[in-house]
């Protein structure tokens, strides 16, 4: 029997030790960028307590259906170029809290990895919650037979975030997960009124960490209210705001991922 992940060419995880640094944002924007490069992308959201992916594509009210091979992922539009799976789709009410201990979370993650009928995808992006616990251990274990490409680690510039991401790097080392690179998110804010740049969350921590750890640095993404707004409204930031300050950085991250995979195939 063909596994549900057999048609997925590349699997990559988006991790961070730290919460609120922009994992789901980066997962979403990466998926949109890859779609604009003509790729078919799936996002598996294994954040069971705080599933944000459905809202970022404005499909939070969609239901999940079953087929012979398992669960049908939710497509974000007619093109079917981006598909999603998240516990968000399984909740009766959006404010329902998923108050589960580890073992129950692990069981659902195993199902999410094995039982979603993704079909053929160029990329499956796995968005994770913060930390190095049940979700992360279970996800990496379940994905191991499918040889993931690796992980993108997201941090914000300040030391408090970098401190947690260092631990995530250790997690990757211990679990044999290749680190594709580090993204420094919320790196500077350019005032829309006067163009003065303020480093609200400091600057440079992500780049320094990449250097210190000997992993690629994928770039700095600045704070951009247009990006926050797009995510709130489930809009395609990559298509609608190519002139915004965050666009070049996000496009560059996607390009490096694409370059990495084409190098792999050649």
């Amino acid at each position: 029997e063909r596994s549900n992940l057999a048609g997925v060419r590349h699997i990559l995880l988006v991790l961070s030790g730290k919460g609120g640094v922009g994992k789901s944002t980066i997962s979403t924007e990466l998926a949109l960028s890859l779609r604009h490069a003509g790729k078919k992308v799936g996002i598996l959201d294994v954040d069971l307590c705080g599933p944000t992916i459905p809202c970022m594509f404005r499909v939070q009210n969609n239901d999940v259906h079953q087929c012979d091979s398992g669960w049908v992922p939710v497509f974000v539009d007619q093109d079917r170029s981006i598909s999603l799976m998240s516990i968000g789709f399984l909740l009766e009410k959006p404010d329902d809290a998923v108050v589960w201990r580890g073992p129950k979370k692990n069981a659902l993650i195993k199902q999410f990895v094995a039982d979603v009928a993704w079909g053929d995808l160029d990329f499956l992006i796995v968005d994770t919650p913060p930390g190095t616990s049940d979700e992360h251990i279970s996800t990496v274990e379940a994905l191991r037979p499918y040889k993931p490409l690796g992980a993108i680690l997201v941090t914000t510039p300040q030391a408090v975030s970098v401190g947690d991401v260092r631990r995530e790097l250790t997690f990757c080392k211990k679990t044999g997960l290749r680190v594709l690179g580090i993204v420094e998110n919320m790196s500077g804010f350019v005032c829309p009124h006067c163009s003065e740049c303020t480093n609200i969350f400091s600057k440079g921590g992500g780049e320094e960490l990449a250097k210190h750890a000997g992993v690629p640095f994928l770039g700095c993404v600045p704070l951009d209210p247009q990006l926050s707004q797009s995510l709130e409204e489930g809009r395609d930031f990559i298509q609608e705001f190519p002139k915004s300050s965050a666009f070049p950085a996000l496009a560059h991250i996607a390009q490096q991922i694409l370059d990495g995979t084409s190098q792999q195939s050649s």
């Binding site: 919460g19 580890g102 919650p129 616990s133 631990r167 250790t170 303020t198 609200i200 209210p225």
Partner: protein, 284 residues
């Protein structure tokens, strides 16, 4: 040793007998400023030298408190009466898994049960002494750590939870779940703090909503869910800097609008706790 929940609760009750007020700092969402707030709440309350304050960090995977309190590299010592907290000031003691790790690269890659075990130890074995305020900083989510802390602290008394959010819907979504969690486990909610609420450009003084409150922010959510909005705190680059240096932002930037907000919120929390205490005494 076989697990005896009743005995464990009794041990925790005994240890925490001398704690007057317990406040949990929660959020469904990560990165909204729980640890920042917990640290500043601790500093704010400890400014009164007559008060004894304890800060317990139960974020096992991402312990930020040691760094924020300027205690990185400190280790925990054992004595006859249990684990000694690490003291920032004479009247402000801290405990975190961070103090048990020997290197900043050490990752705590534990499943739920092991995390619960450490939380139990933190509550049972740390010799806090007599405390006026026990502040518990939590990781994001509604899982093992949260269930465990509420379960273990049921042996004693929790004044309530302070819930931190940022203005945007992506955060509020998770925070509503956290509020639901509190209702489910019958944890009183002291109120909600809206953090990162606007940014004033230091050059042109115009305000930008970096995390736009597209659905009305914490204010609307609090109205809808009938919980108190304790206050809103604007973004200030000095906050991150102070946290990174392990200094109290309240002392480093006493004139900042953010400091004023924090102080007002801390006062409201104190008033809530005092009222509570008074009501309890009345009942007795």
């Amino acid at each position: 040793a076989p697990c005896d929940p009743a005995a464990e609760l009794a041990e925790v009750r005994e240890r925490l007998r001398s704690v007057k007020h317990t406040v949990l700092v929660l959020s469904g969402k990560g990165g909204v400023g729980k640890s920042t707030f917990s640290a500043l709440l601790a500093h704010g309350l400890a400014a009164d030298e007559a008060k004894q304050v304890a800060l317990l960090d139960i974020d096992i995977c991402g312990p930020s408190i040691p760094k924020m309190m300027g205690l990185e590299g400190e280790q925990v010592h054992q004595s006859g009466s249990g684990w000694s907290p690490v003291y920032v000031e004479e009247n402000l003691g801290v405990m975190s898994v961070g103090f048990l790790l020997s290197s900043p690269d050490d990752a705590v890659i534990w499943r739920g049960p092991k995390k619960n075990g450490l939380i139990k130890q933190f509550l049972r074995d740390v010799d806090w002494g007599e405390i006026d305020y026990l502040i518990v900083d939590t990781p994001p989510g509604t899982s093992d750590e949260h269930l465990s802390i509420v379960q273990y602290l049921s042996a004693t008394h929790i004044d309530g939870a302070v819930i931190i959010t940022t203005p945007q819907e992506v955060s509020l979504q998770d925070v509503r779940k956290e509020i639901n969690f509190c209702h489910k486990v019958k944890l009183p909610i002291i109120g909600v703090v809206e953090n990162m609420s606007g940014f004033i450009c230091p050059k042109c003084k115009n305000e930008s909503q970096i995390f736009p409150p597209t659905t009305g922010g914490a204010e609307k959510m609090c109205q809808n869910l009938n919980v108190s909005l304790l206050g809103k705190v604007p973004l200030d680059p000095q906050i991150g800097k102070s946290c990174d240096k392990g200094q109290s932002f309240l002392s480093e930037a006493p004139e900042s609008p953010a400091t004023l907000s924090y102080r007002n919120i801390i006062q409201r929390i104190q008033e809530y706790c005092d009222q509570h205490h008074f009501q309890e005494e009345k009942i007795i």
